[in-house]
């Protein structure tokens, strides 16, 4: 009985970490099996918007996923995966393009082959681009630009990092992307060194074997050059006529590898309560009525953007809440040790629970697989353990010494300027 207990505890400890990364035919393959009833395989490709040579190419490529290949047509892809009961999806971040297939256990030969055939032999037909891809790109871009929160964070990235990480996730209607642009971007990114295969609910050896069999013929080209990110900051104001909430983003960024102290700062300032219907105990818990503040913590491989998104129904409320945010940021370095402990626990929980679902696993551990670093969540947790008051104060004061990134979206005539908030 006791022995059985001990072994299950061990199993859960192992399950915490991701499986080791194996280089199969030049492709990094990593899989973990918690015994889920379904499997998922993700091809994580370094083809995010920071690598694009023309605005919107990465977004177009993301929407081109699972269209015609030399093996099967777009319709065939959809119908055949429906027969297997699988779900295909593609998602884009600033660094990676993720092509994911989720399916029942045992169907992995078909779905790995399907993903591979897109990576190695996509046709990129002009008529498919016009008929299926362009409408989706347009509607996604429209939806993003009509959501003030997304719009503000996109603008904040542009202000903060200008090129590279600054390029938008969404295609711009004023920059036409031609099918040749997409083809050449795909040709330069779909190479072995740029792809990592991540599996969940699937055996590592089985996945390696399948990848070896199907992806062995993929071209191996050097990784795309990406200039290291630099933080700039700045201020912009955009009129929004969509009638959404008045929005202000107050952010700071820093270049370099992600710093656990900034994650702790984000957890410290986040007004999201631990208990429903309560205000929480964050320094931002006493907000004016009708306003909300969200903390935004976005770590990238060589830079971090941290900020607070203030939204409200009236510009006056946003101004008052913005003043509170600016004050809280200024006082954050002198945090009480009890509050820091609470923030660290909150950040640790956020880091640990983010790998509970599949998206989280891909987001958190995918970059680590590429970097070849320790692919477990434990390293992130121990990094947070090492944060103390002095390190926190130092990290926060360096972060706040930079120029703020300030974005106002909404009624620009009455929304506050950065200096009016005391930034």
């Amino acid at each position: 009985m006791l022995a059985a207990r001990a072994s299950t505890r061990n199993a859960s400890r192992i399950a915490r970490s991701f499986a080791t990364v194996v280089d199969t035919a030049g492709v990094k393959v990593s899989a973990v099996d918690y015994g889920q009833p379904t499997s998922a395989v993700t091809f994580l490709i370094k083809a995010g918007s920071r690598f694009e040579n023309k605005p919107g190419v990465a977004h177009a490529l993301k929407n081109f996923a699972f269209k015609s290949t030399s093996k099967r047509s777009a319709l065939g892809t959809v119908r055949e995966s429906e027969l297997y009961g699988g779900v295909l999806s593609s998602s884009l971040s600033r660094e990676h393009l993720a092509l994911t297939a989720e399916f029942l256990r045992g169907d992995e030969p078909f779905f790995v082959e399907l993903l591979t055939s897109f990576v190695t032999s996509a046709k990129f037909a002009r008529h498919e681009y016009q008929e299926y891809v362009v409408p989706v790109i347009e509607s996604e871009s429209n939806a993003a630009s009509s959501d003030p929160a997304i719009h503000a964070v996109e603008l904040a990235h542009t202000l903060a990092f200008r090129s590279g990480l600054g390029s938008s996730l969404f295609a711009n209607p004023h920059h036409a992307v031609s099918i040749e642009d997409i083809k050449s971007f795909a040709a330069s990114t779909f190479s072995k060194g740029n792809i990592a295969v991540l599996g969940t609910g699937i055996d590592q050896a089985a996945l390696s074997k399948l990848v070896d069999k199907t992806l062995g013929s993929a071209p191996s080209a050097p990784a795309l050059p990406s200039s290291p990110s630099t933080y700039f900051g700045g201020e912009t104001r955009v009129e929004s006529s969509h009638g959404g909430p008045q929005t202000v983003f107050i952010g700071y960024g820093v270049a370099g590898p992600s710093n656990p102290s900034i994650a702790a700062l984000s957890a410290y300032l986040s007004p999201a309560p631990a208990l429903k219907w309560s205000n929480g105990l964050s320094p931002l818990s006493e907000l004016p009525l009708g306003t909300s503040v969200q903390s935004v913590y976005l770590p990238y491989s060589d830079a971090t953007l941290f900020g607070l998104l203030v939204q409200g129904t009236t510009t006056k409320g946003v101004k008052d809440a913005g003043k509170l945010v600016a004050k809280a940021l200024k006082e954050a370095a002198a945090v009480k040790s009890d509050d820091l402990k609470k923030a660290l626990a909150k950040a640790k929980f956020a880091a640990a629970s983010s790998v509970d679902n599949r998206d989280g696993i891909i987001n958190v551990l995918g970059p680590k697989v590429f970097a070849g670093s320790d692919t477990s969540v434990d390293s992130a947790l121990t990094a947070l353990d090492n944060v103390n008051g002095a390190a926190f104060a130092k990290a926060v004061s360096t972060l706040l010494k930079g120029k703020p990134t300030y974005v106002a979206v909404g009624d620009v005539h009455t929304l506050p300027y950065a200096d009016e908030l005391g930034l």
Binding site: S73, L75, G76, R79, L83, R126, H127, Q130, E131
Partner: protein
Amino acid sequence: MALGYSLAGWIKSSRTLSKYIKPVANWYADLAGYRQMGLKYDDLLVEESPTVQRALNRLTDRERYDRAYRFKIASHSSLTHKPLPKEQWVSANEDKRYLKPHVEEVLKENEERLVWDTMTVERK
């Protein structure tokens, strides 16, 4: 049938047949008179069908513009009841099937959709 029935493939596959029929076919195509009006053969394709409409959408901008321009020229020469001056006639090697490949592609897609729609699934 968007493209109409054709024996062309069968005739082309036989050397003897194509040797005898090709001169007749070329003579007939010249006689039909559409080249004298500045049109290409694919301009005559019946476009009032969803298949061909879909194929027309797949032309490049340049091809679409040229097609409209040829129609304009042709309707003008129809109005004047005169063929174009000889140097403006479409020559036999300009008379390419620019639309046919697209129509065939659309037909193939329709057929594939029908196959998927009407298949029976068997568990192996």
